[in-house]
Amino acid sequence: MKPMEAILSPVARTVGGVQLPHFKQTAELETAVMPPPEKVTLAMLQHIGAPCEPLVKVGDVVFVGTKIADSPQRVCAPIHSSVSGTVTGFREVLLPSGQTTNAIEIASDGLMTPDPDLHPIQVETEDELVAAARECGLVGLGGAGFPTHIKLSRAPDVKLDTLIINAAECEPYITADYRECLEHPDDIREGVYLLKQLMGFERVILGIEDNKPKAFDVLKSIATDERDRKNEVHLMRLPSHYPQGAEKVILYAATGRKLPLGRLPADVGCIVMNVTTLSVFARYLRTGMPLVSKRLTVAGPGVGVARNCMVPLGASAQDVLAFCGGLRSKATEVFWGGPMMGLDIADLSAPVLKQNNAIVALTGGWPEPSPCIRCGRCSAACPMKLMPAAIETAMKRPDAEKLRQLHADYCIECGCCSYICPAKRPLTQTVRLAKSHLRRSQNA
């Protein structure tokens, strides 16, 4: 056993951020498994990269875990059936981002029969590990949806020294990662030591916010595992401060390294991985079952019964909400994810994607903006040290040169500026528009 000083404090702290209410009432509720819905709709784009092409045709019989779509493109993750049943058709679906993509519809037979060909996977080299991540259909489950096999594959000359496991979960309401820590500690443990061994990380840092003592204890037991003879696995206690779990922020807290614009953590020798992504990966190696279901936190004053539930991918938001007591009549706004970065659901038939981790329903309205009083709170809250109010002014014209000088492209869209604004100005939205304006003016 290692001594207690294994618990690290952040080595560096980003400026900005905001103190948010936590609303984590679902934290102590065990995950309920949602029964299969009558049909699932599996979108061909559930990751950053190229969309998949269907490998099945109407009438094909599939099982849970059968690969139904893939692509020869590198940046892409294959998609597997989340139910057993029959392929009934294809349709276009609207993704939360506003893009549309093709989707496969599968009618469930209600049996959830696993694919008989699935079997545990043995990986002994880094290449096998990366290949397995791809076959699992794994993407960053914290919300970004970046294909994990791309994150893990590196050019031969790139030196990776630190693996950061992100269990910060700093968005209000969401407790999905927290439940993963409590319900699957052994998968996380296996994942940590496997990745460390095969990828040759010099150290692993498990980062968690200080408002989650039970999950903290779980991660502590992992950091003090007897396999860690050289004391290379550390636990880092982070302050509960939004956006602590943002990739650049947690990377800086753990290592003091600043991730430059447009670079990946691997460029500064790190891999940052969401704790559920790691756990799902370890479970895939243990059981052979690829990523076909996802734990969603369904919460907020607008839902009937707030709870965590394990949901087959491709179930509709409507199905999931029905399993959670439906929407209350006072619900005014429903979104995928937490209230700071969540994407609104306009149509409840939208399917659950791999990177979704919550459905939250709120009852408030849209606050009417009043003129900016230049209090500077948006700049003080910006973890990227930007001046959102100045970007807003430059966007009125819009002045691309000025927007570039103000570095609007550094925005990580965490939402702190809009949250803190006493004049209720939609600053994050405006900065998003500024970013796309900059991209367009650069391409022109």
């Binding site: 980003t14 400026v15 948010l20 209000p172 650049k248 800086y252 600043k258 991730l259 430059p260 614009l261 409507q318 439906g326 929407l327 619900a331 005014t332 706004e333 429903v334 979104f335 209230p339 700071m340 970065m341 969540g342 994407l343 609104d344 659901i345 306009a346 409840l348 709120l362 309205g365 849209w366 606050p367 009043s370 003129p371 900016c372 009083i373 230049r374 209090c375 500077g376 700049s379 003080a380 973890p383 990227m384 040290k385 930007l386 001046m387 109010a389 103000l406 570095h407 550094y410 939402g415 809009s418 949250y419 803190i420 604004c421 006493p422 004049a423 209720k424 994050t428 939205q429 998003r432």
Partner: protein
């Protein structure tokens, strides 16, 4: 739930409870100790001057919004703050029509003509006070002695010896809200604790003024506690719109205010320099902000 309509908005979907109105209300609350002490010291005439300032400021704001065909902004209470600040910067013996004129100048000329709340480049109350001072120098410098109707033309800035107790309680001639240092400090502490203002500007302003006056052989304590220095440093120099939003910008702004104040008091023709100092620094704010804008997180110098 078929065909149910939902709000579709850009994230975030959660907002802090603070509002513009709440911030203004905090500033008003923070000025209340100084106001009460001013009325206590200088009587009902002081209350009347402040009331006239507030009412005419709000009325001017309302009329301007009507004329500009903009939604009325009087409910955000910023006009009340401007009127209140101006009133506290006047002598209790000022003719009421001058007080009203000051408010109209502050709101119409300094604030609304530049686009209303958030768009003025100079502090409305300060600028209006300066306009009144150069227009009506005698009326603006005819002070009342506390607790009496006697006229005094001398504030501690003109010399004389005063005790610390007199400074703290404000029992000497001066503007309605500027004499009681203790009440102003209480208000400033409240604003800092409520995080309405950052202490950087007041600390740099007061600190640099004290240091410089000591360097010039003046008494630092008298410098800080006399005239409008505390009122200006805590409540006027910290005005959001007319001070830099960046940390180092605030430092430069505060030190600049302190420096100009002392230079005017020491070498200028006027015994008081706080208003001019703040106004001059107001003008420099865009440049200070530009010079002190931090590089974004993870910024790399472009490699040529």
């Amino acid at each position: 739930m078929p065909d149910r309509q939902f709000l579709v908005t850009s994230s975030p979907h959660l907002r802090h409870t603070d509002t513009t109105r709440g911030i203004m209300l905090d500033v008003i609350l923070a000025l209340c100790p100084a106001l009460v002490s001013g009325i206590f010291l200088f009587g009902w005439r002081a209350a009347l001057v402040v009331a006239v300032c507030i009412v005419s400021a709000v009325l001017a704001e309302w009329i301007c919004c009507k004329l500009r065909h903009r939604p009325s902004t009087i409910s955000d209470l910023s006009a009340v703050v401007t009127g209140l600040l101006l009133g506290l910067n006047l002598t209790s013996r000022l003719p009421l029509w001058m007080a009203a004129l000051g408010s109209v100048i502050a709101i119409v000329v300094v604030k609304q003509m530049f686009g209303g709340i958030g768009h003025n480049f100079a502090n409305p109350a300060i600028t209006a006070r300066i306009v009144l001072l150069v227009s009506f120098p005698t009326a603006m410098t005819t002070w009342a002695e506390p607790f009496s109707d006697a006229i005094s033309s001398a504030t501690p800035l003109a010399g004389g010896t005063y005790t610390l107790q007199q400074f703290l309680l404000g029992t000497h001639a001066g503007c309605i809200g500027e004499t009681s240092s203790l009440m102003l400090l209480i208000g400033g502490l409240y604003l800092c604790l409520r995080r309405v203002i950052s202490p950087i500007i007041p600390v740099c302003f007061i600190g640099s003024a004290a240091l410089l006056s000591w360097a010039f052989g003046m008494d630092p304590l008298t410098t800080v506690l006399s005239g409008g220095l505390l009122l200006g440093a805590i409540f006027m120099a910290t005005d959001y719109v007319t001070s830099p939003p960046t940390k180092w910008g605030k430092v430069i702004f505060g030190i600049g205010c302190g420096l100009i104040t002392i230079l005017i008091r020491r070498f200028g023709a006027s015994p008081e320099g706080v208003s001019y100092a703040i106004l001059l620094m107001n003008i420099l704010v865009p440049h200070i902000t530009r010079l002190t804008t931090p590089k974004p997180f993870g910024w790399e110098a472009p490699t040529a």
